[in-house]
Symmetry: C2
Subunit: 380 residues, 2 copies
């Protein structure tokens, strides 16, 4: 057996050396590729051409898929690989491009700029060549001078302070300044901004946490209030930072957020709380689980890794939200009878009804989540 | 402007050509890498060495991370890329290795081998050189001859038929044959197998659906019943197919599955059903959403893309499960007062309590899910 092992080592060593040498050559080529991409970025910058060129990316992928086949490589594998390479190239390009200012030297006041989200935006504006001023709770004495000549006042304070801060800041604003807020509800703040300020008004809701380093493909909802033309440079700047802008009305925004934020997080909270009260053996359940359970439990764990006060704010934000959550709990109560009577057929009927309603989204979800599960298996 | 565009095209063309040529060279190297890996597999096969060599993979990743830095490449990017390459290499190797039989030519009877899960196992056994026989519902007349001289009888029938099928088949089995089942509950089936059959007994629960093409890293729970030594070749075969074997008792298995399967799927069902009853505008909520919401809604959609009868079976499997689900619904009812009294502090206290209980898992979940969200952004 030992002799056999020795023979195996002798035979495998040159193969592994060859693989290592191939890997080194791939690495050098990737470095050269990156250098070429940097030249492309420099050119794009000179000619003000957008970074992301979906058609070129798809062309490249299609071509590589074809080439793979003739080389005996799996085209899906090749696509996976190049999605990673292209994303890296896009991130690098965006990092270089995002500093470009649409209205450089404009004066931006971030109210609550010491908070995490305020700080993120203050940083982005600064890097893009704006003059950024920060107003914190302790600084209200200097508010009049901070507001002088500003082009944009951005309110980034906790949700329960938004209305009073808007009221307090507006008398100090130049009439032509854009007034915008980053609150996660829009009806009340936008109404308040419109009544308190006579100039341009824009509601903004960034759908991401403040821990991002790059806005690439992140979504920002904007709900126009007044004088859209005067606000344009600001939304353009958000796009240039890589964000995807979705336009809505304050009413529609709030209704959708009831589901996207409040209901979803509350349902996750309830699930986690039940596991905790049952003292479920988390570690052991993970050993017993398919990757998809790991992913689903991960979604629950993820919630509880975050700030409880923030989630209390989100969940309890409006009476409409609290009513929706009550309705959700009551809807679950209706299932008790089905469980007690062991009525599988009722479950199947309801399930099929919901499946029909979800329609093509289900299959798409199946594909997307299967893709992710593969990624999860790959990594962990 | 037109002139400027022309100039840009002229300047960018050679850069893009160079990138395309680099990509072609990378592709050739990957094909050569694959050829080398195939030689390694052939060698491993001869020497019966396992495919997956975690230490070598981690060495390789560490080395490439170091090399990336000296080439000005992001080490995380390089690691991402090589995880894709190594997974592909592992899948290819496993596909070649998994056919190896631990006890080739042994006779395996798959009862319910026409069902999806039974067919998957019948296929795996066949590819590994076993003599596979299939017993379907229509075939019971031939059961005695199908059972003759078999080494393993694998019961793969719907959960509600398991007990009666075990009862029906055992009188026909050779006393030394291994009797195993693939049911998703274990207490009753294993007890029934032990009382009906005098030979080796093994409970098996594959924690995956029947649509897989490869068992790589998939989990299979086994609950030993009797004569573990006689069952060993079967569990070894499962490992060789790439599965991870977790051992448990029928009681522990069922308790954990109440949470991992019943509770989780039921909670998802409730969420989907509520969205459907509210006629929530799914498409629009997705436009308004961060990638993580897309992922979470995808988990819900994924459920409804699957077989309602299967989920009814899973959820209603035992009285214990139904009691647990009732308890879950009742636990939610307790939150109504908190919502009605707008008691944010109570929510924060409960949230923090649960967060503490989740402990380090939360941070890990945060890291893992952030990784996946990046993958999701990359792809879609």
């Amino acid at each position: 057996m030992k002799k056999d092992n020795k023979k195996f080592s002798d035979q495998i060593a040159p193969l592994r050396d060859e693989i290592d040498s191939i890997d080194s050559r791939i690495l050098s080529l990737l470095a050269r590729r990156q250098a070429q991409v940097e030249k492309v970025v420099a050119l794009k910058k000179i000619h003000s051409i957008p970074v992301y060129h979906p058609a070129r990316e798809e062309d490249l992928i299609s071509r590589l898929r074809l080439q793979s086949q003739s080389h005996g490589l799996d085209p899906d594998f090749m696509e996976d690989l190049y999605r990673v390479i292209l994303r890296q190239s896009r991130v690098k390009q965006t990092q270089k491009m995002e500093h470009k200012g649409v209205k450089p030297n404009a004066r931006v006041l971030v109210i609550g700029g010491a908070g995490q989200m305020g700080a993120l935006f203050a940083d982005l504006f600064t890097k893009s060549g704006y003059e950024v001023r920060i107003l914190t709770e302790q600084d209200w004495d200097h508010a009049p001078s901070l507001c002088r000549n500003i082009d944009l006042a951005l309110v980034s304070v906790p949700i329960e302070k938004t209305l009073q801060v808007i009221e307090k800041i507006t008398p100090l604003l130049p009439p032509g300044a854009v007034l915008a807020d980053l609150t996660s509800v829009k009806k009340e703040p936008v109404a308040k901004m419109l009544s308190a300020h006579k100039g341009p008004v824009l509601g903004v809701h960034p759908l991401f946490g403040p821990t991002l380093s790059c806005l690439d493909k992140q979504i920002i909802v904007v709900t126009p209030g007044r004088d859209g033309t005067a606000c344009e440079w600001f939304t353009e700047q958000l796009s240039l930072w890589g964000a995807v802008i979705v336009e809505s009305t304050p009413g529609e925004h709030d209704e959708i957020m009831e589901i996207v934020q409040a209901l979803r997080h509350f349902a996750t909270f309830c699930f986690g709380e039940f596991l905790c009260n049952r003292q479920a053996k988390l570690e052991r359940t993970l050993e017993f689980s398919s990757p998809i359970y790991r992913l689903e439990l991960g979604m629950v764990g993820r919630l509880f890794a975050q700030d409880s006060a923030l989630y209390a704010q989100i969940i309890f934000a409006t009476p409409e939200r609290r009513a929706l959550l009550k309705e959700f709990i009551l809807s679950l109560g209706r299932h008790i009878e089905m469980l007690e009577s062991n009525d599988k057929q009722l479950f199947i009927d309801q399930f099929n009804h919901v499946a029909q309603w979800f329609g093509p989204f289900s299959d798409q979800a199946m594909r997307e989540s299967t893709f992710l599960i593969d990624k999860l298996i790959e990594r962990f």
